[in-house]
Symmetry: C2
Subunit: 438 residues, 2 copies
């Protein structure tokens, strides 16, 4: 598997001189990788200044990885040549196989790979990126920065959207792979590899179908890194769409939901959730229990947060009497005297600090959720500073929900820079937190 | 009711010279309204250059609206004075009534109002804003721009967050009112007024409890403007929190859900949803049916969209054979031949246009959902232009989901400027669309 992500020499079968072609985009991306890259194209003498070969068989040096980007019908023949050249790792970008009804053509690939002991990614995929090796083996023209999240996508086009968003948000990736129809290398092989990859701390998957469900279950059960899944085709209509897309096999939703639960994978409901949770778990341990404490200066935000706790199976931690007594001394008469701890609309940053200092002494909760709206005495940036300092000293996970616009902007930026996960509003955020509980 | 929102003369009981006080903030906001504003404060001679009065009874001119912002225990006395001065409209900002366990004190207000025929908003509220009159009768220091959405909130602090966000996003409001404990003027009175208000096209509510449920039902059933509700305290834990916040009465969730459905109010799940739907319905009619058509260049996005359709009770419109034939002529062989219409990863803007032009001819769907990821041939900005042109000619609602980062940015801006609702990802967006179907 290493040769997919750390190859020393690469052949691009279908490399092109024409800028509008996929074969040009991939070759160009690879040229900036400082690897040995060989263009294969019988109709060109040179491509981007490199001598082009008729076939991989014409190259004298060893090739670690071949990337195939030619029309589907020619793929079996060149895959065979890869076998003859003793290339064991191949990425097949080309589309036009089972997803377009050409099952027979796809079967040929499976057989050739078996015969020559080739492992391939694809067909019908976008390729792979390893930011830690500056290796971009896709036709996507930009590079995400180095990070700790691996993303394996069955859909290339969703992969592109995610890469583009990751780059905009400054989110780093450890590895990216689009595995397309996945008739040889599937999720299980990828996850096994990622478990050993020292750069990867969390594994995000976009799955349309698992051809080998039991194998997936076994692999995910055994690994210690968090696996976060977005499953497309969870409904009948979605499955029908998936069948035309990556030739995914039909199966019961219940089977997937049950299987994910059983093996400890975290099932998410949207692309956004997949990456927020992946990002959090790449830097933090899962939350150790479901007892949360809400601190807020806004009664309404406390109510919505409490609603979201109950809807998502989280528990409002019961505040011990001794802690209530201490809070009574520091907080104004109108405070809520229960969880959510409503420290009232005129709460200063100092009042947030005092409250946190008091509850810090008790061992009655697993995480803290701060809901804030920008009122007269609030000073969101100072509150953000207090939360950051608290997080540095305490091992308890702390999440925030600063609600508003301009007035909370500086506070939000500070929180994000200091790795406190801030949500725009409580309902959605608390749903996400519930999925990060161990 | 008009005098709450279009008063000619206003007395601020508790106006203050001290900048950190709420009584200063309100008085200052009102001074810039170009209304006659009188400060009432027995301990000051002048406030911001205006002669201060001992009591409203000392003012010779008629007063349309009094705003009370003094400690709770003094409120009944000054409310009485308002009655004697024949002031019929009062906003009671002061907190410390039933929400803090002082039911008796609150009962006094109810009785005095009854005796003098006073209508009051509050107590325990933030006040009101009428951008069309440049009237800011709250202690919030900024002004939202004129718009078509009215927002009535039982929570002042959530109100602040929403105002701040509205200002940042450039979202206009027709009216804002925080009604707090709502022991006199409640949602029903507000909605009745808003139904007649020519500036208001959609009514958004944050509700913690309805003291007069049947009245609410009756009023909402009769009005034609869309009413969109976020209900806090839908769970047991949420209700307990609401009880300490606005002294909301406990009630069954089912009762609320059923009631909202019966009277045609749209129930939302988050602040974000409340305003996205409110904003859409303030400018557009509800969608006339639940049959949607998905057009996408990304198979995975099509799968997730189809999943969201089914989860939210939307129907994937069946494409008539005649339309399929026409599409066959224009689209590449690999297109999905069903709904979602997957026009394949290399789709150009022109291909989007051709697809829309063909389906435009059929009457088999109620809305269009465009899911796009930024691939090699995509050109998101040109696709956005095509959608804008399509929307201008067609009466069919069109929604979009441009997924990605930098590459889709220009397209997204164009869509937003031209009033096409664009979602960041399909799951959440389609949930929202389902609530806008008539």
């Amino acid at each position: 598997m290493e040769k997919f992500f750390e190859p020393k020499s690469i052949a691009v079968i279908g490399a092109s001189r024409h800028k509008e072609k996929v074969g040009y985009a991939i070759f160009k991306n690879l040229l900036s990788s400082r690897k040995k890259v060989y263009p294969i194209n019988p109709n060109a003498k040179k491509i981007c200044g490199r001598i082009a070969y008729n076939s991989v068989l014409k190259i004298k040096e060893d090739i670690d990885l071949a990337i195939i980007v030619i029309p589907a019908k020619f793929v079996p023949e060149v895959l065979k040549e890869c076998g003859e050249k003793d290339i064991k790792n191949v990425i097949i970008i080309s589309a036009g196989f089972s997803e377009s009804g050409n099952e027979k053509l796809e079967k040929k690939l499976v057989d050739i790979a078996l015969k020559y002991n080739i492992r391939y990614i694809g067909p019908n995929c976008l390729g792979t990126i390893n930011p830690h090796q500056k290796l971009n083996a896709t036709f996507f023209g930009k590079n995400p920065k180095k990070g700790k999240i691996a993303f394996i996508s069955q859909s290339g086009a969703l992969g592109v959207a995610v890469l583009d968003r990751a780059i905009e948000k400054g989110m780093g990736l450890s590895l990216f792979a689009s595995i397309g129809n996945a008739t040889n290398i599937g999720f299980s092989e990828m996850i096994k590899y990622l478990d050993k990859d020292k750069n990867t701390k969390a594994i995000c998957l976009y799955v349309e179908s698992l051809r080998k469900g039991k194998k997936f279950l076994n692999v995910v059960s055994k690994i210690k890194k968090p696996v976060i899944v977005l499953k497309g085709g969870m409904t009948k209509k979605g499955q029908e769409a998936a069948a035309t897309h990556t030739a995914a096999l039909m199966s019961e939703n219940g089977v997937y939901t049950g299987a994910f639960k059983q093996c400890g994978a975290i099932k998410t409901e949207s692309i956004y959730e997949l990456f927020e949770i992946g990002s959090y778990l790449s830097k933090n341990k899962p939350i150790k229990g479901n007892r949360g404490i809400i601190v807020t200066n806004a009664g309404g935000a406390g109510v919505l947060s409490a609603d979201a706790f109950e809807k998502n199976g989280l528990e409002l931690a019961k505040i011990p009497k001794s802690i209530i007594k201490k809070l009574d001394k520091e907080l104004p008469m109108e405070w809520s005297r229960s969880n959510p701890i409503d420290i009232v609309g005129d709460a200063t940053p100092e009042r947030y600090k005092k409250t946190l200092d008091i509850i810090k002494k008790g061992n009655f909760y697993d995480f803290i959720f701060i809901a804030l709206t920008p009122q007269k005495m609030t000073n969101p940036k100072k509150v953000a500073k207090i939360l950051v300092e608290f997080q540095k000293k305490s091992k308890t996970p702390i999440f925030s929900c600063f609600m508003g616009g301009e007035l909370i902007k500086d506070g939000k930026i500070l929180l994000t820079n200091e790795n406190i996960l801030n949500f725009e509003e409580p309902t959605y955020g608390i749903g996400m937190i519930s999925k990060m509980v161990k």
